[in-house]
């Protein structure tokens, strides 16, 4: 049984903010919520290496929400940028040009378009080289910043602007979500975890645990997205909660490859989650698509059957 060691009560969430307000990210952004909580553990001694994506909007010239540094890269090259920053820090410290106590954490921020698709190659390279960095993926299951186009993270049955519901493809998107967790795990980094903004203590605990590992530390944050998933911004925690409670978004970590589920949901029917969101409305209206809903449920059932052995 997995237990939290550092973060046991909600009042242990640090009061100090490290991602300040005034960004132009959407109201109710689940990705920003996850990052804000993560930054409470990461602190200010950080260089964020930000791949183009929704988080481009964190620091729009001439404003930044960070007290630390932020470097902007193209969608595919944030891990390569992180390598450069890490190397520069290491060299400066080794030569005595930067005091050891001014060392910084290097944190990549990438969306799912970047993480699952475009930056997969540079991420693979960085993990292979054992780069000491954090990778924070805010996964809103589509290319959000350009108007919700299908990405490899888009789940089966979701309507995006490039996977509309049509007579040929009534379920809208036809592919299942790529299992990036397992792709990362196959690279054998010391620490990988999934997090969701509705479970702040689970999230904080995982970032606190990751500190002690040197090497690639990867976080996959469910970023419920009112703009793209088409629900009211106030429902972001509710949507994130149902993603976890239905079993669609397992909360887990893998330390040196050993997977532990950090929360075992009772598993509500996936329909409860799907119904909340406009991107799945075509599965229920004008006619109910039982086949598609069953497919989504079966995938979840199969996953958890393997977990419980």
């Amino acid at each position: 049984m997995w237990q939290r060691e550092t973060f046991k009560k909600i009042k242990q969430i640090p009061r100090e903010e490290h991602v300040l307000p005034g960004t132009s990210l959407c109201a109710g952004c689940g990705g920003l919520e996850s990052l804000r909580l993560a930054a409470k553990v990461l602190g200010d001694d950080v260089v964020y290496v930000n791949a183009a994506g929704c988080f481009t909007m964190l620091a729009t010239y001439p404003f930044t929400p960070f007290k630390g540094s932020w470097l902007y890269t193209t969608m595919a090259s944030a891990p390569a940028g992180a390598q450069g920053v890490r190397d520069a820090l290491d060299v400066l410290i080794a030569k005595g040009r930067l005091p050891r106590n001014e060392n910084l954490k290097v944190v990549v921020l990438g969306g799912d378009g970047s993480t699952y698709d475009m930056a997969l190659s540079s991420t693979s390279g960085a993990i292979y080289r054992g780069l000491d960095f954090y990778y924070f993926c805010y996964d809103n299951e589509a290319y959000g910043n350009t108007g919700m186009q299908l990405s490899a993270a888009t789940p089966y049955g979701a309507r995006t602007s490039t996977s509309p519901c049509s007579l040929q493809h009534p379920s809208a998107s036809m592919q299942d979500k790529k299992d990036i967790f397992e792709i990362w795990r196959a690279h054998k980094p010391p620490y990988i975890a999934t997090v969701a903004p509705r479970y702040p203590l689970d999230l904080e605990e995982k970032f606190a645990r990751a500190v002690k590992f040197t090497g690639p530390k990867l976080f996959l944050a469910l970023s419920a997205c009112p703009t793209g998933w088409l629900y009211d911004p106030g429902e972001t925690p509710e949507v994130a909660k149902l993603a976890v409670e239905t079993g669609l978004w397992p909360l887990k970590e893998a330390i040196n490859g050993a997977v532990i589920h950090t929360y075992i949901p009772k598993r509500k029917p996936v329909e409860d989650y799907l119904r909340l969101q406009g991107r799945f409305r075509h599965l229920f209206e004008p006619t109910r698509q039982d086949e598609a809903i069953r497919h989504i449920q079966e995938r979840v059932d199969t996953y958890w059957k393997l977990v419980s052995g």
Binding site: E17, G22, S24, A27, R36, T146, M148, D232, P233, T236
Partner: protein, 305 residues
């Protein structure tokens, strides 16, 4: 030619309103052109959309700098320099503002030239739909009334454009009904086409090359995003009923923008300069100590800083 410019915030429906207006005009036999412009696809960010309507083929392209009608979906955009709502408005321009204020009140508080008219579309949408949402059909219908389009063509245009967005038949029908209600309710000022603007030859400007050390944007300040106040995005503000609050910290934990801090006695303090009004705190409060109140417009929203 009549040139119409829509201003809204991402998610309010300015772009679709422009499409509805263009389609309705097209259905009546006009030549129509519509195009939106926005930075990132983001709720709350300023969006503009342009519709040109004419009897003869339209040669003009691009942004509308001298509009005949300006439709403003969100009054808080007016003082925002990035939104450029005031651009090219003169005495003859008709300006419609979705606002709780009357046009006299707006006139008294602002430096807006042009012939103003207002109607509280947000309130009508809330009453009729029972929840927050886009008001594209309402904006489109109001604009259609100003430029003299017929009810039937607007009804049909709404059906076409909203069906394209994947909305269900019942939602579309509801939108049509409420939109035509607004069509009737708005007090109109007739839109007059302005004199054609002389078009000069465009000058080509060659950008100069700067090395990355100079040519790359650099911000040498820490956490200065607080200078940019996002409080104007709200339609509703969360308000604390202190007696009901049990000091559980959940609102603080879930606020994406970190605008809620906890006081010494564990009560939330909300930073209204930056709260975007997502209502997560209101949804998640276990004791209903946070309630949503419709944002009131006041003089403050009108003074340019």
């Amino acid at each position: 030619m009549i040139a119409v410019r829509f201003h809204g915030r991402g998610g309010q429906g300015a772009k679709t309103a422009s499409r509805i207006l263009g389609t309705a005009a097209f259905l009546e036999g006009f030549v129509a052109q519509d195009s939106p412009i926005y930075g990132a696809e983001r709720r709350g960010a300023p969006v503009a959309a342009y519709t040109r309507i004419a009897r003869e083929p339209i040669r003009e392209r691009g942004l509308i700098v001298h509009p005949d009608l300006v439709v403003v979906a969100d009054a808080s955009l007016i003082p925002d320099p990035a939104a450029r709502v005031l651009e090219g408005i003169d005495e003859r321009t008709v300006v419609f503002i979705n606002s709780q204020m009357t046009s006299e009140q707006v006139h008294a508080q602002s430096f807006l030239p042009g012939r103003l008219t207002t109607l509280d579309l947000t309130d009508i949408a809330l009453q009729q739909f029972g929840k927050r949402g886009a008001i594209s059909a309402l904006l489109g219908a109001v604009a259609g009334r100003f430029v003299g389009l017929r009810q039937e063509s607007i009804r049909e245009a709404i059906a076409q454009e909203l069906a394209d967005l994947g909305l269900s038949a019942s939602v579309i029908e509801q939108n049509q009904d409420v939109a035509l209600q607004c069509y009737d309710a708005v007090s109109t000022v007739s839109v007059v086409a302005g004199a054609p603007q002389p078009v000069g030859p465009a000058k080509l400007q060659t950008p100069i090359y700067e090395p990355p050390s100079r040519g790359t944007a650099r911000i040498s300040a820490a956490a200065n995003s607080v200078l940019r106040e996002t409080g104007g995005w709200r339609t509703f503000r969360p308000v604390l009923l202190p007696d009901k609050c049990n000091g559980c910290w959940l609102c603080f934990g879930y606020c994406p923008d970190g605008v809620i801090s906890m006081s010494k006695d564990d009560k939330p303090v909300i930073d209204y300069d930056h709260c975007k009004g997502c209502q997560i705190c209101v949804h998640e409060c276990p004791t209903d100590a946070l309630v949503a109140e419709r944002e009131k417009e006041g003089g403050v929203a009108w003074t340019a800083r």
